[in-house]
C-alpha cells in the first residue's frame, strides 16, 4: 500500500488545514482515485502538490471577499544601503504578509536588485532592520544555474539543499515546470536551453521547497507572451494560497493587481 494519503494529509496540515479535516480529505481523495480504479499518485500527481492545488482551489471562492491578512513574512524597517560614499537608498520600510504581493519598482540603477538581495539575506544592509520568515525562495534575474547539468540534476541538487529526497525533488520540479508550459529534456544540459527557459528553471528552483516567501527579480525576461501570462497567473496562485510574493519589476501595467508598491526612485540618493 502506498503512503500517498499520509503524505497528502501531512502537507494539508502544513498548509494550515485542521488535522481532522485533513484526515477526512485524505480518505476521500483516496476513495476518489479508487472510483477510477487508479493509484492516487498517477491520478492526482505527487501528494504534496495535489494538497497545495486543493487548498488553493478551496480558497478560491473566499478570494472575492477580502480575506484577513496572513502572518507577516517580511518586514523591512529603515533599511539603507551605501557603497563607500554613494548612498543607494535609505529609509526603506516594507511589510509583506501571507496572501500579499509587493512590487519593487524604480529606474535602472536605483538598487532594486540590491534591495531584493537584502530581503533574501544575501546582502547586508548598511542600516535598518530586516525580519523574514524561515522558508524563503529566491529567483535571480539570471545566472544561478550550472550550464553542464541537466534540469533534473538541478532539481535533485537544489532539493537536497532543502532536505528533499531526490525522487520527490525531481517529480516536484517536473510538475512545476509543466505549469510554465515547459517539459525539461532528460539529457539536455542547461547551457543548451534558451534564455527564457533558463529563467523558467530558476523559477522552478525558487519554488521547489514550497517557500512561504518568494523573492523574484524580474524573472520573466526572455519569456514569450504565453509564458509571461503563465508567470503572472502563477503569482496570483501563490498569493491565493497564502504565500507572500515580492517581485522586482519595471512593468507598471502589472501594478493594478499588487498589494504594495515600493518605489525605490523615491527613496534613493539617486545616481549621485
Amino acid at each position: 500500500m502506498s503512503d500517498w494519503p499520509l503524505r497528502f494529509e501531512a502537507e494539508l496540515v502544513r498548509l494550515g488545514v485542521r488535522p481532522e479535516r485533513a484526515r477526512q480529505l485524505g480518505a476521500e481523495t483516496a476513495a476518489q482515485a479508487g472510483e477510477h480504479a487508479a493509484d492516487p499518485d498517477r491520478f492526482f500527481g505527487p501528494a504534496h502538490l495535489y494538497a497545495r492545488h486543493l487548498v488553493t482551489e478551496l480558497q478560491a471562492p473566499t478570494a472575492a471577499v477580502p480575506s484577513l491578512p496572513g502572518p507577516v513574512m517580511l518586514r523591512l524597517t529603515g533599511v539603507s544601503k551605501r557603497y563607500r560614499r554613494r548612498e543607494v537608498f535609505s529609509g526603506v520600510d516594507l511589510t509583506v504578509r501571507g496572501g500579499e504581493v509587493a512590487a519593487i519598482v524604480g529606474a535602472n540603477g536605483c538598487g532594486k536588485s540590491t534591495l531584493l538581495r537584502i530581503c533574501a539575506g544575501l546582502t547586508h544592509p548598511t542600516g535598518g532592520d530586516v525580519r523574514r520568515t524561515r522558508r524563503v525562495g529566491f529567483v535571480p534575474q539570471d545566472g544561478g544555474t550550472a550550464g553542464w547539468l541537466t534540469a533534473e540534476e538541478h532539481f535533485t541538487l537544489f532539493g537536497a539543499a532543502a532536505g528533499m529526497a531526490p525522487r520527490k525533488a525531481r517529480s516536484t520540479g517536473t510538475h512545476l515546470a509543466s505549469r510554465l508550459a515547459w517539459r525539461p529534456g532528460r539529457h539536455q544540459p542547461v547551457q543548451d536551453l534558451s534564455g527564457g527557459t533558463r529563467q523558467k528553471l530558476n523559477l522552478v528552483l525558487g519554488e521547489l521547497h514550497g517557500p512561504d516567501l518568494l523573492l523574484l527579480d524580474e524573472p520573466y525576461q526572455g519569456f514569450d507572451q504565453g509564458s509571461y501570462l503563465d508567470f503572472w497567473r502563477q503569482v496570483r496562485e501563490w498569493r491565493d494560497a497564502g504565500r507572500a510574493v515580492v517581485v522586482v519589476t519595471h512593468l507598471l501595467h502589472e501594478l493594478e493587481d499588487v498589494d504594495h508598491v515600493l518605489d525605490l526612485g523615491a527613496h534613493g540618493g539617486g545616481d549621485r
Binding site: 472510483e35 480504479a37 491520478f43 482551489e57 478551496l58
Partner: protein, 108 residues
C-alpha cells in the same frame, strides 16, 4: 478531446445541471461530462470543484456503499444550488449568444 481553457468558468454550471437531473458521484459525473462531449475532465479539476460546491452549500453529500469498491460520496443539488444554476445558466446563454453572433453563419 483537447483541454478547453474556458471550461473552468462553466464547470460549476455543468456539474450543478447534472446534479439537478439526478444525484451522482464523481466518477459518474466525469462519465456524463465526457458522454455529453463537453470535456474529459481530470480528477484534479473535478474533485476540488465538487468539494467547493459542498463548501458553498450548493450540493449536499451523502455516502452510499458500492457493489465492488470503496463507498461512494453522492452529491445532490440544494435549493441554493438551484438558484445558482439558474443564474449561471442565464449568464451562459448570454455568453453563448454573444460568441455565436461574433462567429456568424459564414464559418459553418
Amino acid at each position: 478531446m483537447t483541454p478547453r481553457p474556458w471550461l473552468h468558468g462553466f464547470l460549476d454550471l455543468c456539474l450543478l445541471a447534472m446534479l439537478r437531473d439526478q444525484p451522482d458521484y464523481g466518477y459518474g459525473l466525469a462519465q456524463r461530462l465526457a458522454a455529453a462531449g463537453v470535456a474529459d475532465i481530470p480528477g484534479g479539476t473535478l474533485y476540488p470543484a465538487l468539494l467547493r460546491l459542498e463548501q458553498q452549500g450548493l450540493a449536499s453529500p451523502s455516502w452510499a456503499p458500492s457493489g465492488s469498491g470503496p463507498r461512494r460520496k453522492y452529491y445532490a443539488i440544494t435549493p441554493a444550488g438551484l438558484d445558482t444554476l439558474n443564474a449561471q445558466a442565464e449568464e451562459w446563454r448570454g455568453f453563448r449568444d454573444g460568441v455565436d453572433a461574433l462567429i456568424g453563419e459564414r464559418v459553418r
